[in-house]
Amino acid sequence: MSAACHDESAPKGSPSSARALVVLVGRPNSGKSSLYNLLTGGNAHVGNYPGITVDILEGEVDLPSGARATIADLPGLYSVEATVDHATDEGVARTFLEGLRARGESVTLLQVIDPTRLALGLRLTRELLRAGLPLVVALTHADVLAAEGRALDVDKLSGAIGAPVVLLSTRNPSGRATVLGAIDDRIRAGADADRGGGTFDPSAVARACTTDEGGEPEKARRARTARLDRLLLQPVLGPLLFVGLMALVFAAVFLVADPASSVTDGAVAWSRGRIEALLGGGLAASFLSDGILAGAGTVLAFMPQIVVLTVALELLEASGYLARGAFLVDRVLRFLGLSGRSFLPLLMGHACAVPAISSTRIIRDPKERLTTILVIPLMTCSARLPTYGLVLAAFFSHRSALFRASVFVGLYFAGVLSGLVASAVLRRTATKGKGLPLVLEMPSYRVPQPRVVARKAYGAGKRFLRDVGTTIVIASAVLWLLLKVPMPGVTPGATPIESSVAASIGRAMEPVTRPAGFDWRINVGLIGSFGARELMVGTMGVIFGLENADEDPAPLTERLRDTKKADGSPVYGTRTGLALLAFFVLACQCMSTVAAIRRETASLRWPALVLGYTYTLGYVAAVLVYQVAGLLGSS
């Protein structure tokens, strides 16, 4: 989840030229995020670097000499010499380093290496030294090394590679002073300290500098890992455990987040009440209450789900299990044109597509990355859930809870299935081409660090509020306006809403949407949810004239069931609900997602394709479901 550690919600700032710039580099899973957190205390803002479109986190630190330094945290990378796509995490890191060299800026590289995999880290060290940039090597996981019964001769290693080396544990606060002292010494030594290098044999150096002092703890640890892998990667049991664990995670997300969402809903309802009490029933109160707060409340209600899911996924990733999951599902994904590398972004898409699309930077293959971006909008993000809940409550309340739960789970599987089918089609058409082979690092099992997990959760919450919240608040305000302002030339209807601009637009759409069973009210809801699908429930609530409909959907479900045509027959039936669900499974009703696709692909073509194919599929599916259900005798 390397992309997730680059908090895009942080404000932009410029690195001060008077401060030393220290750039944190390292292979993925080397402990880079933990060291960054230790050095900066988790405080960070986004640096402004020429030619870099991805946000680079940076924090300020005081060096022992009294000088200030900026620590910039680059995405993980394996190589600065191998050719890579510039849009991936690794490509961003490489562009960043090349830019520094081209501009001749004063910089010190701080390379993070997992000492239990020293030879692998030293391969990158060799390349960095060949690049001619001042380097300090920080070996994290000293505690793990000791637990494995191994010792490392730091002085010998430093002499062999020609760069200063420090050994620390990121779980021990004293490691901070060790690293900052080494950085300070390297900066003050200046160019005189350059000792050339970059010609050593990583494996030989690693063997020469590491000694096995006993080996029993290491053997025991490897035995534990082997036992775990034998169970978790067992060809039959492994996939079953994996599916079960994922189901547990999603269930836990909703079980834990539900009470928190209720509290948020209550707070918003109280705020709306206070506003109406203070401002009365005028336009200003309606705008703030029905427009702004209804939208903001919808956003806040989903915050707990996003944060809880982020924590769950981060725990799984930091423990080393998610890489095992990628190993297990690779074969299935490969058949559909993706690979195990796409697994994590697709999984994250079940929380929110926006960070999931950013996380595709971990996919090195450009074609696979693009395909993953294009199908992530089909994953069942949490914003679909209010509409699913509303439809199930309105049209299936007479069925058993088990039936409704099955439909709910079926909607999740429908999202996954449609995404996989779409990827198979895309890989044979729009994103056709030879892909890079799968080589995925399987990190050791580790105990996640609470501070790092908390930082990821905080970042996800902030990003969600910024990327989605602003869009929803603006869309709510615009929708409120369109529902309040009467359409010029339209005869006033039974209620002011029916003669509004929004209702008139909804009626104009009816010839197109009637085959799917949608009337003007649903059409207005679809217009409202074009920017953010979670607005559907709130919009329908406003349309039906129910205050606080988004906080208490029960009255809205009754109104949906009870609305009659002139001849007394119900306007909406079960098949209308099914058609609406089919549409919501497939249509990309999220402008934040579209904007994220635009940003990540640097193109208008791909977001246009996503809008085009998902809306077309959604419409066709809705019409098919409505018509077939009608033929089968559904009301």
């Binding site: 191998a82 053997k219 990667l233 039959v236 890079l436 082979p437 080589v439 995925l440």
Partner: protein
């Protein structure tokens, strides 16, 4: 002890990595991938002379789980493993 701490047999015949026996140390003799794929595989540490052992194979022709002499563990797709030639090691790596 072997580099990864895994004990096992020593293979006596040259073979593509995809067909290498489990729990048997081998060394990479040649990587026949080209261009970016070859550079990528080398960048992560799979290069000529590297010792490795296949720990398991995923079901239905899925990836191989290997441990290298440098201490890393990787999931390697079958199509990559088919293009990595391995040789038997005369004795288990020190």
């Amino acid at each position: 002890m072997t580099p990864g701490g895994v004990t096992g047999k020593v293979t006596r015949m040259g073979t593509p990595l995809a067909s290498a026996p489990l729990d048997t140390w081998v060394t990479i003799s040649r990587v026949t991938l080209e261009g970016e794929a070859a550079a990528w595989v080398a960048a992560v540490g799979l290069h000529d002379g590297e010792a490795l052992v296949v720990l398991r194979r995923a079901a239905l022709g899925g990836p191989l789980h290997v441990r290298t002499g440098s201490g890393g563990e990787f999931a390697i797709g079958r199509e990559v493993a088919d293009r990595i030639e391995v040789e038997p090691v005369a004795e288990e790596p020190a």
